[in-house]
């Protein structure tokens, strides 16, 4: 008989007085693992932490719920999207998560927020609708996509097996195209993952859409290639850049875990923007984990 780890993980995750944000993130990813395996109590435990003050944590909750492949998470995400008083970074993540779940019943809600005051939320809903429509279309069954090495459920599928980097770069930055199509080029370039593909992706950090720029930074975090460090430092350290983009660039640097960027992460941990500060704390912990040789980032008690 093994003890149920969820109450303890939930306690750690929901403890807003805890000084250890990085530990709470590790608890979150433990719960995400259990949620992905269909554990409803884990989904509820994640959702319970939406009462937190930390926008960074809350947006990560929404992300994890979107990755858990379980429609039981949808009502919690809908509530976050509907809450106009919530931080827009969190609402964006909730909308994107409903797309990741391919939650068809959420289409009316997503359409409603196509007119949201926040441009990030509007753009997110546009992409999430296109994602759900694509996933439920005949195209999703006939398009010849290369299976991705990345374990995430993405806001858009990669483009079919196009290998021409300059062609993909033009599609990535084609302002006439929908964001969904441009995201498809982005994920195709991520899957190609060469230095040339990284250079092509880096041009996206100059795009006019902050949502788009933040997704480029996320993708760099997934790829964890030191080749993207200069572009990420430029974005993370730019005080005129939106905090959502800076935060994602900071966490990407944490994922790359190159010792040369620790000094930058320590500097970002003192930033005026709370989301950037919090991200740097999590990023330093991620970098330490990557270099430690430890196997598990998630902290499910192994003895249980």
């Amino acid at each position: 008989m093994t003890a149920d780890p969820i109450p303890e993980l939930r306690r750690v995750l929901c403890d807003d007085n805890s000084p250890d944000l990085a530990l709470r993130f590790r608890a979150l990813f433990s719960l995400k693992h259990l949620a992905t395996n269909g554990n409803l109590d884990a989904i509820k435990a994640i959702a319970a932490a939406f009462s937190s003050k930390s926008a960074l944590l809350k947006h990560e909750l929404a992300y994890c719920l979107g990755q858990c492949k379980n429609h039981a998470a949808a009502p919690f995400l809908q509530d976050v999207l509907k809450n106009l008083a919530e931080d827009n970074m969190v609402r964006h993540e909730a909308g994107e998560a409903l797309g990741a779940l391919v939650h068809v019943d959420s289409l009316p809600l997503l359409r409603k927020y196509l007119n949201d005051p926040s441009v990030e939320v509007r753009e997110t809903c546009e992409i999430a609708i296109a994602k759900i429509e694509w996933e439920t279309s005949a195209a999703s069954k006939t398009e010849d996509l290369q299976s991705s090495a990345f374990a995430s459920i993405d806001p858009a599928p990669p483009l079919a097996k196009e290998a021409d980097i300059s062609k993909l770069q033009r599609k990535l930055m084609d302002q006439e195209s929908s964001l969904f199509e441009r995201y498809r080029a982005m994920f195709r370039l991520r899957d190609i993952a060469t230095p040339e593909a990284i250079d092509a992706l880096a041009t996206g950090l100059e795009d006019k859409s902050a949502l788009f720029r933040h997704e480029i930074a996320f993708v760099f975090g997934q790829m964890s290639d030191p080749h993207s460090i200069p572009a990420l430092i430029k974005a993370a350290g730019n005080k005129n850049e939106q905090s959502m983009v800076r935060h994602e660039a900071v966490e990407a640097l944490g994922g790359i875990a190159d010792e040369r960027v620790d000094q930058f992460l320590k500097e970002y941990a003192q930033d005026e923007e709370v989301v950037v500060r919090d991200s740097a704390i999590v990023a330093l912990d991620m970098a330490e984990f990557e270099r430690s040789g430890a196997f598990e980032y998630a902290l499910i008690p192994e003895s249980n």
């Binding site: 993130f25 590790r26 990813f29 433990s30 995400k32 693992h33 990560e60 990755q67 090495a149 990345f150 374990a151 995430s152 996320f218 975090g221 997934q222 790829m223 964890s224 966490e251 990407a252 944490g254 994922g255 999590v282 991620m286 984990f289 990557e290 040789g293 196997f295 598990e296 980032y297 998630a298 499910i300």
Partner: protein, 163 residues
């Protein structure tokens, strides 16, 4: 300086070519590796005997823990690798040769084209013992040679089918 680098590169290329002309290794995403498959760890061609994947963290990152056995020395090696990173996989080939005799601790084998091959040692242990026994008894035998990354070893022996 530039010339030296060029030379080194050429030499490396020559070394990395097996007899078949195929390269010694090819890259494979860590997550695509499988138990009982091959992988290069610390420069050695290995067979994977155990493999586990961690839970995913931020960015969908997971780590893969590999336990493998050096196919030539039998030494156990371990590696921890991000699931999205590339690992080298050795091109491993197995060829059966007709056995002629043992000379100075080396096997004298006959290639399919009739020419001699005498650069593989008699292995230590059971396989080597059995080859010697067969030789003494005058039995016709076939020896299987495994080849990877420019190294070769005899890994099994069996009686030749009666003509």
């Amino acid at each position: 300086m530039a010339d030296n680098q060029q030379d080194e590169k050429l030499e490396y290329n020559v070394e990395s070519q097996g007899e078949s002309g195929a390269s010694a290794t090819f890259p494979m995403q860590c997550s695509a590796l499988r138990k009982n498959g091959h992988v290069v760890i610390k420069g050695r061609p290995c067979k994977i005997v155990d493999m586990s994947t961690s839970k995913t963290g931020k960015h969908g990152h997971a780590k893969v823990h590999l336990v493998a056995i050096d196919i030539f020395t039998g030494k156990k090696l371990e590696e921890l690798c991000p699931s999205t990173h590339n690992m080298d996989v050795p091109n491993v080939s197995r060829t059966e040769y007709q056995f002629s005799y043992i000379e100075d601790g080396f096997l004298n084998l006959i290639k399919p084209d009739g020419s001699e091959k005498s650069d593989v040692r008699v292995p230590e242990g059971d396989v080597g013992d059995r080859i010697r026994e067969y030789e003494e008894a005058g039995t016709d035998i076939l020896v299987t040679i495994i080849s990877a990354m420019g190294e070769e070893a005899a890994i099994s022996v069996k009686e030749a089918p009666k003509a």
